[in-house]
Amino acid sequence: MAEDLVLDTAIRDWVLIPLSVVMVLIGILRYFVSKLMRSFQVPDHKIVKEGQVIVRARNLRAAANFIPPKSFRSRRVYFSNEENGLLFVPKGQAQNAQAQMFSDPNMAMDMMKKNLSMIIPQTLTFAWVNFFFSGFVAAKIPFPLTQRFRSMLQNGIDLSTVDVSYVSSRSWYFLNLFGLRGLFSLILGEENATDDTQRMMQMSGFGFDPSKSLSAEKDGLDIVQHEWALPKFEHRAEAVLKKLVS
């Protein structure tokens, strides 16, 4: 399979570049639309508290060596105490969070809106690409691929002898979908609603997040060995002063 197909430069001008431009424009449009449609969600008081607890526990873990051992131990007990420790989440409560997430009408509406604003443009663009840009080879991927990818990447091309590196425009669409995220964060600043891939990953584990991270922090905290760094500092101070005085 070593023959080199020569691809018309017109393909580059009329397929690859317009497709990228269209996707960028659609992304920008979506960003502004989502800004308009954004409803102000009152943050739940418990969720805020949990977030802050996690930050505090993380600080404790990170800087544990800077405070005296007694205070570290008392704080550790405060956090991971069995009865009323901050990080301790009894088993029953963990499930509740997720159920509550779906039954709360506001949250469900919000999630629906976010999902819709993501799904509809994707579907439309995908259909458009399929309709207009199928049936020909669009690009050649620089590295070799196995035969398994053939069905995914060579969708409109019905010749089975063409090397799998030659792909149709559908794969260019997917490439753009995942790759333009970096470009969007440059153009639109940090806060942009076009982080589809991240959102897709987040969709699966929503309500579970708080309690899982709490128990993760608790485990991390239990592991920490306290090694008081301060005695070392005395020696270092001596060295500093010696240099200063001499």
Binding site: V48, N59, F66, F233, E234, R236, A237, V240
Partner: protein
């Protein structure tokens, strides 16, 4: 806390604006970003921009942020009429805004009508129970009225929810020190050290509190924290150097009978004394005599 480069930039801009060069708007933006409290200058230059209708329209949508900034500066300088005018303009533009409601509450506070301000703040909190700034204003009000224990209670409740807010921990520590509740102040400073372990100021304050609490263990710990401050500031912090000398002599006094020799840093005390003398010779040579006699009395 402002970094050194930002501070020099701020001073440079301030000098430039003071001496008649342009750049008032950049100065105001920088003050707003760094959250520094330079109310007189902000008031003077902000008003000069706002009263000049040409400059004002050149700002575009930033005009309203400037109104808010000038209103707060005016309240700080007790020019309540100016503040009221600014707030009126803002209210006309944004009638249902929470930020304007907050400014109204602050105006009532500045006038001294505490009860009305408290009512305004509580109604704002009902709509939005997690607004950090309003909580902090309530604490400030309690403190201004002299109700320190109320301030402590409010601040503790605030910290139960927002426990990662290190500014609040700092405020609580200072309140505790003013009430001489040193153990609680030590706890707050530990929190500060945990969240920002490389800031020498926290180490220094913690060491001061430990030294005040006294007792052999606390004194030894205090000495260690003074040493860490010296390390973090490269030996330039005079207070820490003094702290080392005082701690060493206090430890020697407390453990007079016992044979607990400080094996960890035998030279630290003499080194600190030498560094202090050198520093004084450079900066305040007329007080050098006082210093040497004080250090000598400590050694005995």
């Amino acid at each position: 806390m402002v970094s050194k480069t930002e501070e020099t930039q701020l001073n440079r801009l301030e000098n430039q604006v003071d001496n008649g060069g342009g750049g008032a708007w950049e100065y105001l933006c920088l003050v707003r970003k760094l959250k520094v409290r330079r109310s007189e200058k902000v008031l003077k230059y902000g008003l000069s921009i706002l009263n000049d209708s040409r400059k004002r329209s050149a700002l575009g949508p930033e005009e309203w942020t400037l109104y808010e900034q000038v209103a707060i500066a005016a309240m700080d300088c007790q020019c309540l009429d100016v503040a009221k005018d600014c707030i009126k303009v803002l209210q006309k533009k944004f009638p249902e805004s929470k930020r304007v409601g907050r400014l109204n509450g602050m105006l009532l506070e500045a006038k001294g009508s505490w009860a009305e301000a408290e009512k305004a703040y509580s109604s704002l909190l009902e709509d939005n129970p997690l607004d950090q700034v309003i909580h902090k204003r309530r604490v400030a009000m309690a403190k201004a009225q002299g109700n320190i224990s109320g301030a402590i209670e409010l601040l503790n409740k605030y910290l139960e929810i927002f426990m990662a807010d290190h500014e609040a921990w700092r405020e609580l520590a200072e309140i505790y020190i003013s009430l001489q509740m040193y153990k609680q102040a030590a706890f707050c400073y530990e929190e500060l050290i945990l969240s920002q372990p490389t800031v020498p100021m926290h180490h220094l304050a913690y060491a001061d509190v430990l030294y005040t609490l006294s007792g052999l263990e606390n004194l030894q710990t205090a000495k260690k924290y003074y040493a860490s401050t010296i390390d973090l500031t490269g030996g330039k912090n005079t207070r820490a150097l003094f702290g080392i000398c005082l701690c060493t002599s206090a430890i020697a006094q407390v453990s007079k009978g016992r044979n607990k020799e400080d094996k960890e840093s035998p030279e630290l005390h003499s080194l600190a004394a030498t560094a202090l003398e050198k520093d004084y010779k450079q900066r305040a040579s007329d007080k050098l005599g006082l210093l040497t006699s004080a250090l000598r009395s400590l050694k005995t």
